[in-house]
Symmetry: C2
């Protein structure tokens, strides 16, 4: 086995399928794809970085809501501010039942901010806040094997995009340093903006809806103008993006020791993967390393 | 004078200002800009290709409306279909007075089409239709000096984007072959899409409004995540994009012999250029060549 390529991947069906696909599209032959069409798209939360116990951006916005409730106590009995102030674990765990409140809260969390103002707040979050279990800034709790895959794709002439249900402008702050992905290659849920007084300001509405589920191929087309040739995801919200690609790679969270084990909101993705022959990546079996460096590990039980 | 750089530009203040700016941002010194921030944005109609007597996309959509009126005669007494069928020169010349009808007509011109269907129609247009004065497909009636500038910017580590008031997906069909600009670097007015039955379909609404005037810096931020370092335009709709850039270049149409001479809809841009010291490019004085090859030239009077 060539151990300089994808060094954090164990030899196994997932690694082999990726390398075989790359050889097919880059070498001469019937499966060859010209460089201009080599586009790869990846979900972020749970695909490139850890999304447990909360996606980093969810922690980010909870802190913002708590601050807002501190400044305006009338908000403390209103959701999502109340849940943010109380860190209401039950409410947060069932966040899928509270989408309207969450979207309303998101819309107003940074209303009117300029890109520079928002960026400064995000940068501070990544400096100040650490992952509750791994004790590192969130942008270090990324999957080393996936970073190697992004790099390998780039070396094979791919343009790598991130297509996340999370906030586009949140991720753009760290995408270049963390993943080597240019800001303009980050696709995600995004607010509308208006231009006044010579600068941009966030509006409380979304541009083109949430970048999840059927919204992912739509957002990708807007940004890229092409279908992905390869797409990677980990959950049901990635199914439509993955089915629009020629090669689909599904990260399966089955490693409670080194990361987390859960299939919630990935049931349909796992079904489609089995039916359509997608490449399923077992974090436990396919990855020799999960994170870029040794980190102090506490068990999930210790941090709740 | 180094004649291998920008060979179709005459030695003069415009060419010198461009070269001086490129030296400042690429060489070590106080004005140096790291490659990641080297973003250039250009308007298309009248900046990169000829927009007279009609912007190519306007001709494109007029033909579509005429076809639609042929298929459904009830449309023939409705605008913009009537003007399209009759090629009503007066109505078309004052198209700025008919924006609501035009937008409504645009919305429904390709409603429901998949990207592949739309692309095939656009490709046929560029094969079949010739510019009325220059007798060439529209994608050959491009400004050779501007193509050389895009190339020079790329050679200096810039990522070049097109930011046009025209249709994004129309331009993406020809941007790679015509300008060497990847589809994902074409920004413009675009429809919403929906994903159903495994593919995308155009909707009759716009994503984020028209990419013109104050809409340009907004669309650019959505796509790029950065301000342009250099921006090029030719009309009032480009002013906000250009004022958001460090270096602004305004193409002035003052060459009736080789192209066209007009200041309509560029009055404000010319004022701001004079006030803020933008680099104004005189097509007549600054360009030794206008189009990429000798073309049979008829005067504007001959084609109306």
């Amino acid at each position: 086995m060539d151990t300089t390529t994808l060094p954090s991947w164990n030899d196994g069906p997932a690694r082999r399928a990726v390398l075989e696909f790359l050889a097919t599209v880059t070498e001469a032959g019937p499966g060859h794809v010209p460089p201009v069409d080599r586009v790869a798209t990846f979900d972020n939360d749970g695909t490139l970085w850890c999304e447990q116990p909360l996606p980093p951006q969810f922690d980010f916005v909870l802190r913002r809501w708590a601050e807002m409730a501190e400044a305006d106590p009338s908000k403390r009995r209103e959701q999502p501010y109340q849940a943010a102030v109380e860190r209401d674990a039950d409410w947060l765990r069932h966040y899928y039942d509270h989408i309207p409140e969450l979207l309303r809260g998101l819309a107003h969390a940074f209303d009117g901010a300029t890109p520079e103002q928002f960026e400064a707040i995000v940068a501070r979050f990544f400096t100040d806040v650490h992952h509750p279990r791994f004790g590192l800034p969130y942008d270090q709790v990324v999957y080393q094997p996936m970073r190697e895959l992004l790099e390998l794709l780039a070396a094979n002439g791919f343009r790598v995009f991130i297509a996340s249900g999370g906030g586009r402008d949140f991720m753009r702050v760290i995408s270049e340093a963390t993943y080597g992905v240019l800001r303009e290659r980050v696709i995600g849920t995004a607010p509308d903006y208006e231009y006044r007084d010579g600068t941009l300001h966030r509006l409380p509405t979304l541009l083109g809806g949430v970048d999840d589920g059927p919204g992912k191929p739509v957002h990708i087309f807007h940004q890229v103008g092409r279908r992905p040739l390869l797409a990677g995801g980990n959950s049901d919200g990635d199914v439509e993006m993955m089915e629009s690609a020629r090669f689909a790679l599904l990260v399966h969270h089955d490693d409670a020791d080194r990361e987390y084990a859960y299939d919630v909101k990935a049931e349909r993705a796992l079904d489609v993967a089995a039916r359509d022959g997608w490449t399923v990546v077992s974090m436990r079996d396919d990855w020799s390393t999960v994170f870029p460096q040794r980190v102090p590990v506490r068990t999930a039980a210790e941090v709740g």
